[in-house]
């Protein structure tokens, strides 16, 4: 059992929890993830390691309420226990030797990109961050991000804060202005990562995307997380989750992610039924 030692609500749908998991904390690196199961009947879901404290033996995760498990997780409070918490899984992102980087986060992806920006910055790279959200109420980690970059650009779809538009609009502007990077990191919805990869391709800027297919074990034994990269099949949980955005078959990935849409809806509905209305999150 793994105890929640801290909880913070970042916006109406995004929460942060810090969990006691000494073995995971000892080894975790940016780019890696954990898999948790809230209770005996729960699903195993993957979440990125957003931060870790090796001394305290804790791991921080940030998650967005999208379905039953993330909703249930959001109802837990400090002191509550999570049944299973395993990791760190996946490969760490290689960030050594980068001089100038642009880190692009879409919505919740911003939280996943944060540790990578932090590491790049601490390694001495010049970092630009572009973080996009649907509206101003959904902005997360603004202060933290500002501390680990040279320039921070915030966008909102509706213009309620920062620049109106998408992260890709800012990236295009920066590229048009002549900014050049040795590395772009894009993390967010698949469509956003696809657009960013298409933007950087003509400039030959190496672009890392973080793939989030449906997973079960996270150790390479089920093949459910397979994606096509450069024409060959990869298991995102062991070969990734980071991949070269110019090689990923995004259309296939988008299709595979929708595989359980009906079941996810049903699971959520039954859950809300039991909770009596669904205002408990």
């Amino acid at each position: 059992m793994y105890r929640i030692v801290r909880k913070k609500v970042l916006n109406p749908t995004v929460k942060l929890i810090e969990v006691e998991a000494p073995y995971v904390a000892r080894k975790a690196e940016p780019g890696q993830f954990i898999i948790l199961r809230v209770n005996e009947k729960g699903e195993r879901i993957p979440l990125t390691v957003a931060d870790f404290d090796r001394e305290k033996g804790t791991v921080t995760i940030i998650f967005q309420k999208v379905g039953k498990t993330t909703k249930l997780l959001g109802t837990l409070e400090e002191g509550d226990l999570i049944l299973d918490f395993v990791g760190p899984l996946g490969k760490p992102t290689h960030l050594e030797g980068v001089k100038k980087a642009v880190v692009i986060g879409g919505g919740l992806g911003t939280a996943i990109a944060y540790p990578q920006a932090k590491k790049l910055y601490s390694l001495g790279a010049e970092v630009d961050i572009i973080a996009g959200f649907r509206n101003k109420d959904l902005i997360i980690l603004e202060e933290e991000l500002a501390k680990v970059c040279h320039r921070l650009f915030i966008t909102t779809d509706d213009g309620s804060n920062g620049t109106k538009g998408f992260v890709s609009d800012i990236l295009k502007e920066l590229l048009d202005q002549g900014n050049r990077y040795d590395l772009a990191i894009a993390i967010g919805p698949l469509v956003m990562m696809k657009v960013v990869s298409n933007l950087t391709r003509p400039y030959g800027i190496k672009t890392i995307v973080s793939m989030n297919p449906i997973m079960i074990d996270g150790t390479g034994m089920c093949g459910g997380c397979r994606i096509t990269v450069g024409g060959t099949t990869k298991f995102a949980c062991v070969d990734g989750p980071d991949f070269d955005g110019h090689q990923v078959d995004f259309d296939e990935a988008i299709r595979r992610q929708s595989m359980y849409r009906e079941e996810e809806k049903r699971s959520m509905e039954e859950h809300e039924c039991k909770l009596g209305g669904g205002n408990n999150a």
């Binding site: 009947k41 395993v86 074990d217 034994m221 459910g224 595979r256």
Partner: protein, 469 residues
């Protein structure tokens, strides 16, 4: 007077049309009466050929004699002298190629139902004697020496139990949230109830074995770190969990599963009880399962139980080459699973929005025997055809997961991933590191994995005893 009936006493079973709609156990087990009657078929042969047919040398005639005499608890302990998991072996061993194959009675009629009797003794003990048994597993004096076992499948459990029994402090590290390996995530409830696996695991815990779940060795901890934590010897029993795919077009369409994913969802995550359990599974009206081993039979029978109207096994060789246990094939047929033999899939066909709609196949014929000794299938030109299906489950085999080998310098493996060991001692290329089970042999059987775990436990004991001097 021995019972000279040429046939085994029939095992009561759920009717096929009933059981292919539920996940309850298919074979219901012998009553005391039936067990004693079957036990009387054993001739108590002087040269005991059956014992040599069992990879862990269960003293078959002895335990059977005890059953014949109605001494059920003693029969159980007789089996336990050499076999830590009798309730499991009695259910899933391929007896027809092992102990029962060499039974004298098989020369005229059916062999003695050794597996069924083993299952009976184990079940009887759990139901009637476990709680108040005067006898318990002997506990040796603690040696205060730590051994790590990686993986909680039959190989790891057996190795751990044998070492604990002679006094070592044994910790099992398991990647999943539950112990049991394939017994928990692969073999379905209707063939091996998970409650039984749990009971057997508990028995091993009572010997003092500690089981740490959620520990992926190679990630959470490496082998070297385990040694630094004071484990003087390590046994690797990580199985063969890496699924193979065919490499044909369309394999990444929605609705194509590896058997591992399909069975893990159904068994470990209990998707057959969705939405009570959160993990979903998607089974359409028509399902094709590619392959003809135990894994394929299990996947097909699960698909049927999950509501598929038509389930077929697609296999490129003929019935004679099918690697599954006879009983599973027989049960699958009874439950309405179709067999498309000498048929090889060449492409998965999809709808416009990426869901499976068919499996394109070609007919095969058998040529000369290949390196495996089986006749090689050859495609028959012009016989391409499409089977309409909504799901394809690929069950063509698994190989060992490279996670540990790739994070452990100096651990030698075969090209296909199997860990290289000395056959006599199970020792790997690294000092103090032993391995056995599917991680060494590739996908094999429960009892062979247990045999390897036993052998490794003996060598580890020897290694550590010598090291102490």
């Amino acid at each position: 007077m021995p019972n000279m009936s040429p046939n085994k006493v029939r095992m009561p079973e759920q009717e096929p049309e009933l059981r292919n709609k539920n996940f309850n156990e298919v074979a219901l087990g012998y009553t005391e009466q039936m067990a004693m009657e079957e036990a009387q078929r054993c001739l108590n042969c002087v040269n005991r050929p059956c014992v040599a047919g069992c990879p862990v040398n269960v003293q078959i005639p002895d335990f059977i004699k005890l059953i014949a005499e109605g001494k059920f608890e003693e029969a159980y302990w007789k089996i336990r002298e050499t076999n830590n998991l009798p309730a499991i072996c009695g259910r899933v061993c391929p007896q027809e190629t092992q102990c029962e194959k060499v039974c004298i009675r098989a020369r005229r009629g059916e062999p003695v139902g050794i597996g069924r009797l083993e299952r009976f003794a184990a079940d009887w003990y759990m139901a009637n004697a476990k709680e108040n048994s005067g006898k318990a597993d002997g506990k040796a004096e603690k040696k205060n020496r730590k051994v790590a076992v990686i993986g909680s499948g039959p190989a790891g459990l057996t190795c751990a139990a044998d070492l604990a029994r002679v006094g070592y402090s044994v910790t099992i590290f398991e990647a999943f949230h539950d112990a049991g390996g394939v017994l928990i995530y692969g073999i379905p409830e209707f063939r091996l109830p998970k409650e039984i696996v749990r009971e057997e695991v508990d028995t091993i815990k009572k010997l003092g074995v500690e089981i740490k779940t959620n520990m992926v060795i190679g990630k959470t901890l490496t082998l070297d770190e385990l040694r630094k934590e004071g484990y003087e010897a390590i046994f690797i029993g990580t199985g063969a969990g890496l699924p193979s795919f065919l490499g044909i077009p369309g394999e990444n369409l929605n609705g194509v599963y590896s058997a591992n994913e399909f069975l893990t969802r159904v068994n470990l995550m209990k998707a057959y009880r969705f939405p009570e359990y959160d993990t979903p599974i998607k089974v359409g009206r028509r399902v094709a399962v590619i392959g003809a081993g135990n894994v394929a039979m299990d996947a097909a029978r699960c698909a049927k139980r999950l509501g598929a109207e038509k389930v077929c096994i697609v296999y490129r060789r003929s019935e004679a080459e099918m690697p599954a246990r006879q009983e599973e094939v027989h049960h699958a047929k009874e439950e309405g699973i179709e067999f498309k033999l000498l048929t090889n899939p060449i492409r998965v066909l999809g709808t416009d929005n990426g869901w499976v709609k068919g499996l394109k196949c070609i007919e095969m014929e058998l040529g000369e025997p290949d390196s495996s000794g089986r006749r090689r299938p050859i495609a028959k030109a012009g016989t391409e055809h499409v089977i309409d299906v909504d799901n394809v489950i690929v069950a063509i085999g698994q190989t060992p997961n490279p996670l540990i080998a790739s994070t452990t310098a100096g651990l030698e493996t075969q090209k296909w991933g199997g860990i290289i060991v000395d056959e006599e001692t199970c020792a790997t290329s690294l000092e103090g590191v032993f391995a056995g089970g599917d991680a060494v042999t590739g996908a094999a059987t429960v009892i062979l994995a247990m045999g390897a775990g036993k052998k490794a436990a003996a060598s580890i004991d020897k290694y550590l005893s010598q090291k102490a001097d």
